[in-house]
Symmetry: C2
Subunit: 273 residues, 2 copies
């Protein structure tokens, strides 16, 4: 069997395919962490460029799934608005693939399947609301460098970006961090400051960890100054998660993409001076 053929067979035997832009962690990173935390395999065609059963390679697969002209795919899935999207093989109608988009939809779909959505429905709704609040902060962080138009360059909206970042650092960071700190405190008897809900890892934890990690990259000075105000969050939660074997291994691997020009960007002028 050729290397090409072996790769094709592996691709088709893996249940999950993550469809996202190449070379940036972006919103897909919240989903990648679920797979890494649970040890479940997935393919990432834009970064692996494998041949696929459809005949399309790599990023072309993502672009086809999220095309702004798509009326849905041949497997009966409706159009996808934007990456990230997830293909779950044989989970759609009549054993076809199910394709879904929207990061929170994908996370709650995978959460239960991968054992990262708590131990009861009550825990699962709390996990969902916390993860969504972390994703809201992620969106606000994106808007610090693109407050006016996602379609324009940062340099074209720099004045508004300076003002937005100041508000984000001075008003939004304390509000969000206080919330996460209080959730950890509320759950301290079960979670020991390491888990947000209950006594085991959930996608609320992985999502918050990724958010904090990205913010440390984007706003290193502000984060250093803020950390002592929220000791559970920065002295217990963040470093404890990072000590989990799966995350340590992943962070050292080539699969973990570096931050660059995605959601989390380091513009020193937007950080605390």
């Amino acid at each position: 069997m050729s290397a090409h053929e072996a790769k094709r067979q592996r691709t088709q035997s893996v249940d999950y395919e993550l469809l996202y832009h190449p070379q940036i962690p972006g919103r897909a990173e919240f989903i990648r962490l679920l797979f890494k935390a649970s040890g479940v395999e997935f393919t990432d065609p834009a970064n692996e460029d494998p041949p696929n059963e459809s005949g399309l390679n790599g990023y072309a697969l993502v672009q086809a799934a999220c095309s702004p002209r798509s009326l849905g795919d041949e497997e009966g899935n409706p159009p996808a608005f934007a990456p990230p999207a997830l293909r779950h093989r044989q989970a759609g109608k009549d054993g076809k693939s199910l394709v879904i988009h929207q990061t929170p939809t994908i996370m709650s779909y995978l959460g239960g399947r991968l054992g990262l959505a708590g131990e009861s429905e009550i825990e699962s709704v709390w996990i969902n609301q916390i993860a969504l609040t972390a994703l809201d902060m992620n969106n606000e962080c994106h808007d610090t460098h693109h407050p006016v138009a996602v379609s324009k360059y940062y340099e074209e909206q720099k004045q508004a970006a300076l003002e937005k970042s100041k508000d984000f650092r001075e008003t939004r960071m304390p509000k969000f961090f206080s919330y996460f700190e209080r959730v950890l405190k509320h759950n301290k008897d079960s979670g020991n400051g390491k888990y947000l809900v209950g006594s085991k890892l959930s996608y609320a934890d992985t999502t918050l960890w990724q958010l904090l990690d990205g913010l440390k990259f984007a706003f290193p000075e502000e984060m250093k100054a803020r950390s002592p105000e929220f000791p559970l969050l920065f002295e217990t939660f963040y470093p404890s998660l990072e000590e989990e074997a799966w995350l340590k291994t992943y962070l050292k691997s080539a699969e973990r993409l570096p931050y660059s020009m995605g959601v989390f960007r380091h513009y020193p002028e937007l950080d605390r001076q």
Copy 2:
């Protein structure tokens, strides 16, 4: 029995309590529509000001549930980040109340319970992803008048608001509307242009309808000019939904709050000139 006592008894016999700011439709309106569509009762203390078992009245209940100092409530619920929040009586641990926040979490929690989440898990994930995309557009609409800081007045960020609105009208509206139009087209055999997924009403429909209604208030000129480009959306979907008996009744009632200074605001200078 006094009127006061009768009101107290009704409040305690209703399963759901919606916790939100008074006098604006806001994000809570997406949740109100689920109750109205399904005919399930709920209380809305900030607008009804009923006495509650906790001894707090009206908006004080909302403020207590979402306090920025809360470490969780006496019923074991973790802190809520911000309104809207939902109390579901007897659905929490040991028959206590469950309190959840985040509009999408509340919508997916209620969706299945109120019969508005489709007829299979596949439909329910599609409904979720479409509703979330409508809520994303709702957030972007909010940011047209508050691009820099939610904590500041519109007048303090008017220049950025003018630029953001231009991009929202010219870039984002066509992108979002094209997506919704294509979803309706994809589902046309089942939904006849009236339903986004399958052949019955879901919370994707109610959420998109509310978004379009708010946009018509906020950007009347732009919406008039855009409508012919998306005929299923504006000639079939929007008016067909409005013809549903429950929605007609609700829109005529005093419970339907007028748009004012919430997410959807009408600033003529931000609209198409």
